[in-house]
Symmetry: C3
Subunit: 308 residues, 3 copies
């Protein structure tokens, strides 16, 4: 999947969502990411974004994702500036759009933004002339996470076409799950969501998505399992009940297809949605997901800036 | 005003205040800023401050101004370091002067500082060997804001000599107003301040400054109008009363000279000191002010470092 | 001590502690630091760490030390990324080891870490593949502070062999004191610790360390005096009592060897552990200590990365 580099056809100035990306667009990102991963070692892309200024606007704090994007931008030679909005005067009345318009007028060309409101990235793309990369908006989308998951999964499974991937947890409130469903579907994957009924409600209407409300039904024949982080402050079920019925461990994973790998967007709540043994065991692709984060973000930055 | 580049005569190691700058010094900053604005597009100044280390010491948080200076320093090739004082151990007993002396001893050559105490930048310049650029000190001065306002206004009006500019709002507590009065006066502009009586008290004694205590008197014959941000936590008058009598809108602006532009240092309180329509309408220079922020700060950094 | 550059023998991938460093290893760091100090002025080392990415992971805030390391890394051309952990999602359940493993997987090669838990840096070195530089862990160690103190002291005294250095204050809770004792002992210095009995308890068993429980006994024949910062939130004695009996001033310093210099790791509590006059007087090496911080950290970074 990632060895054949298609001719560059990417023409988008933003990455707001996976929904709406074609299969060939997704495959182009993955192919460029593989190039970037190899090129990074020999530092062959260090002046690709020399003329760009990338603003990091994390209205919702995230050390991992911010660092991944910051290192991606720096690896391409871009100037970076961190809005540091969670420690700033932003929020004292100034709107997100006003903040981003100001950023644009200081010469920032591309903004990586995370916001607690679903749709914030789309709003930014409509209201400013900035190139916008969505690093997570509310429960809506987290496209670079889904792309790095697709890269990781494709390399682990060899091919994605016709495989069955199950996503376990609070799917309804997860931007990671939503973006993964779009990416996996576009790549020809069968998707199953599994979790307590309120956490998977509504997905029975999504084309090509199966719903399971027991873990046994969820894992049956699954070629790969993606666990979601339990947001301990949410929860239609009590915490202890979720652990008893849904926590993934080696024994339960054995009911999936032989050797089915495990993914998790991190950070994990070990002991809650999965055991520590599983997270660090041979099935786990969690480390590989993080490793693919920087090359995926290098690829997205380069493509969005028309420089790949 | 900005097309003729005078021979370089700038000899200051600091920019603490506009008060005391000669007309030719101000015009030199504006001329260099225009060069920087053009040069930035083709990245011709990217190693001008290659040997300098610029410390960002915002003891009072300001995302906009910090980013504007950070991008200016980076565009000139300087190494930057953000003290991040609002999240630091500073304030746990260590004085500002001790903090800045430490910064100097780590190899920082130039500090951009903002502080809530009027006079803090002067103190820093006296007590350390650092080049000091004042990014706002209490209610005293905000020189780079006044310089970018002068550049914006000069380009909008064609010439400044003999024009009448009115500053509307809480002038008494505004470092922006104070620095603008000095800059505009030095450039031959007639200045009028307008606002509720307690907010303009004392300015009747400033040479060349008129005082108006009604909006109608304030706007009459004005060639340009500068609105100040209402600090909602201050206020000699109630908020509602200010809005009723002083909020700028298109109708009220029509009583100024035809086509008189509007400036505002940002961020705006839309609906309070001005309407959203006015802020984003054809008279508004607010976006242009922000755009001129980076080149003005590039010019100031380069001149103060003796590199322009 | 610092003029003869020994052949490079450094083979460590971490700097976790001074304990265990040989005299020749310490002397090698000091010699490289002198080279770096000279080279920094002419910017001769600006691409030495061009291929390295240095993560700044200050789980305990420290503006001074963070900036010193950040400028050292940048002076060597490394890419830097600030975890900003005190403003981040770290601590919401994710362990330090998980955070650092994530950092490693994003391509960070070397981490500079400070943590309130003694042993945190050792844990990081064992649990990750990162090169780890300890920037302070609990009450255990602060090796770069001890190394910069050794450089400062050696240059002030001419030679260290056989000299007597007294450390005054809460030695028992001080990572600075602990690392200094190891460094000074390795360099052939006689060390005396002096303070209220609970603050020097146990040190009578350290080989080559004398204990004094009055200031007069502490200062007698001392060739140099190192004051520690009084942690105002700790204290086996009342604050006023400490000031009365232990505060260093010019008069008391006169009872040490003639001209004995004064060191302090900073930031000082002037009026508590020493007077403002002493801190800024001719005996004080405090400014020189800060100046030596960046070159020592450049040396450590370069040696640990195998690039010196």
């Amino acid at each position: 999947m990632t060895t054949a580099v298609p001719a560059r056809t990417w023409a988008r100035h933003h990455l707001l969502d996976v929904e709406g990306l074609s299969r060939s667009e997704i495959e182009e990102v993955l192919a460029v990411a593989v190039e970037m991963r190899e090129g990074r070692a020999v530092r062959s892309h260090r002046s690709l974004l020399d003329a760009e200024t990338v603003g990091l606007a994390f209205f919702e704090a995230s050390t991992r994702t911010r660092i991944s994007f910051e290192l991606a931008a720096k690896a391409l030679g871009a100037t970076t500036v961190d809005l540091g909005v969670e420690r700033s005067s932003v929020g004292k009345g100034e709107s997100v759009v006003d903040t981003l318009r100001t950023l644009e007028r200081t010469g920032v060309t591309t903004v990586v933004m995370r916001h607690s409101a679903s749709g914030a990235a789309h709003l930014a793309a409509r209201a400013t002339g900035l190139r916008v990369i969505n690093a997570g908006d509310g429960i809506h989308a987290h496209p670079t996470q889904a792309l790095l998951d697709a890269l990781t999964l494709g390399e682990a499974l060899g091919s994605l076409d016709g495989r069955l991937v199950v996503i376990v947890g609070d799917v309804a409130h997860s931007r990671v799950a939503r973006s993964n469903i779009h990416a996996l579907r576009a790549l020809g994957v069968r998707v199953r969501v599994a979790g307590p009924a309120p956490w998977v409600a509504g997905f029975e209407h999504w084309p090509g998505v199966e719903v399971a409300t027991t873990l046994a039904d969820g894992l049956r024949d699954a070629d790969a399992v993606m666990a979601l982080r339990v947001q301990l402050e949410r929860g239609a079920e009590s915490f202890a009940d979720y652990v008893a019925r849904w926590r993934l461990d080696d024994e339960r994973m054995a009911t999936a297809s032989p050797g089915a790998p495990l993914l998790h967007p991190g950070p994990t709540n070990e002991g809650v949605e999965l055991t520590a043994e599983l997270a660090s065991g041979p099935r786990s692709l969690i480390g590989r997901q993080v490793e693919n984060g920087v090359p995926i973000r290098m690829a997205v930055l380069a493509l969005v800036c028309g420089a790949a």
